[in-house]
């Protein structure tokens, strides 16, 4: 009985993968916002965007989201339930927002008191920040230095590709990717790499701008995205085009349900998602069992 259930699940999974996924995955790989580009060019184009915005990335996040991105990241880290001694990988985490929050969560006095953490576990905590763009990493390292964490062994900055991670199989307790996966050319590769590096029982968490379905709010959000944000980009970062790309890339990214299916296709279990602000942002979570 159980065997039949499992084989039926596998059967339907294979069917659905063949039919719908291939077309939309290909379209993500060749889309740069609303433009069509060659697959091999997408990575470079995205790279240019982030090289340009790196220095004003954090302030633009604050302005564009009205400071809300901070709450979203808090929620993400909360869901992760970080613990001392964990090995965590934050992908596309360039400027360190999520990594610092995890570090603080693990090292906070309250946390330590509650969980009776010993010094040794604290030292074993390793948070790897991986980003494909060196400029973003440099901003992150600078911020670490400003917090007095420059030589802290718990934070490790690595330049790498989400589609070809340089970490060993079954090595991470947690994997997060915040506002990064929509910039990856081949989402399914990033997801299967995430699956590869996680240990059994490891948590996968993805925070990403997503799709709004609520009637009037959707129009307000579209107006804000396409009329206000590129102008803000011009005003504050001096770069309208990069922010135009950013809002377009959000629309091109698969909707919540579709993305959840993709995560399940990579092998993850207990795939769930939570919409924040009516779907402006969604946190997808899953476990590798």
């Amino acid at each position: 009985m159980a065997l039949r259930l499992i084989s039926r699940r596998f059967g339907s999974r294979i069917l659905s993968y063949r039919s719908s996924s291939v077309a939309s995955l290909h379209s993500h790989a060749t889309s740069f916002g609303f433009q069509e580009v060659k697959e091999e060019d997408k990575s470079k184009l995205v790279g240019n965007v982030f090289t340009n915005v790196a220095s004003s990335y954090d302030i633009m996040n604050d302005v564009m989201s009205g400071g809300l991105h901070r709450l979203w990241k808090e929620r993400l880290v909360g869901k992760l339930s970080p613990f001392a001694g964990m090995k965590h990988l934050d992908v596309a985490g360039g400027t360190g927002d999520v990594a610092f929050r995890i570090f603080d969560a693990v090292n906070s006095v309250k946390h330590r008191a509650l969980r009776k953490v010993d010094e040794e576990s604290l030292e074993e905590t390793q948070i790897y920040v991986c980003d494909i763009n060196p400029n973003m990493l440099n901003v992150g390292k600078q911020r670490a230095a400003e917090r007095g964490l420059r030589d802290n062994k718990s934070l490790v900055w690595v330049e790498g590709d989400a589609e070809a991670l340089s970490f060993d199989d079954h090595s991470m307790d947690g994997y997060t990717i915040a506002f990064g996966i929509r910039n990856v050319t081949h989402i399914e590769k990033a997801l299967s790499e995430a699956y590869r590096v996680l240990k059994r029982g490891g948590r996968f968490l993805c925070l990403e701008l997503s799709h709004v379905d609520i009637p009037v709010f959707k129009d307000v959000y579209d107006l804000y995205s396409f009329k206000v944000i590129p102008n803000l980009g011009e005003l504050i970062a001096g770069d309208r085009d990069s922010y135009q790309y950013l809002v377009e890339s959000v629309r091109r990214f698969p909707p919540q349900e579709k993305f959840a299916t993709m995560i399940a296709d990579a092998g993850f279990e207990k795939v769930e998602y939570e919409n924040l602000v009516g779907g402006v942002v969604a946190i997808h979570s899953a476990i590798k069992l």
């Binding site: 990493l137 062994k153 900055w157 690595v158 790498g160 590709d161 070809a164 340089s166 060993d168």
Partner: protein, 78 residues
Amino acid sequence: MVRISRVMLKNAGHAIDKTLSEILVCPLSKQPLRVCEMPKALVSDTIGVSFPIKDGIPCLVPKDGKILEEVGDASKAS
């Protein structure tokens, strides 16, 4: 206290390198990497590619890897 932190700072570079080579693998072959001191790089012996370390940040993006020309180069690099 000051002396300890000074020693830690000096060893930080080495410690980080060691940690790196322990947990990092080649992004292409997924095999272990070897730390090379001069020039600072992580070498994947399996496929003969070296990845630079810039400002303490290992650059393990596949396209940034430099192919080590021949056996001679590999031994010169270490």
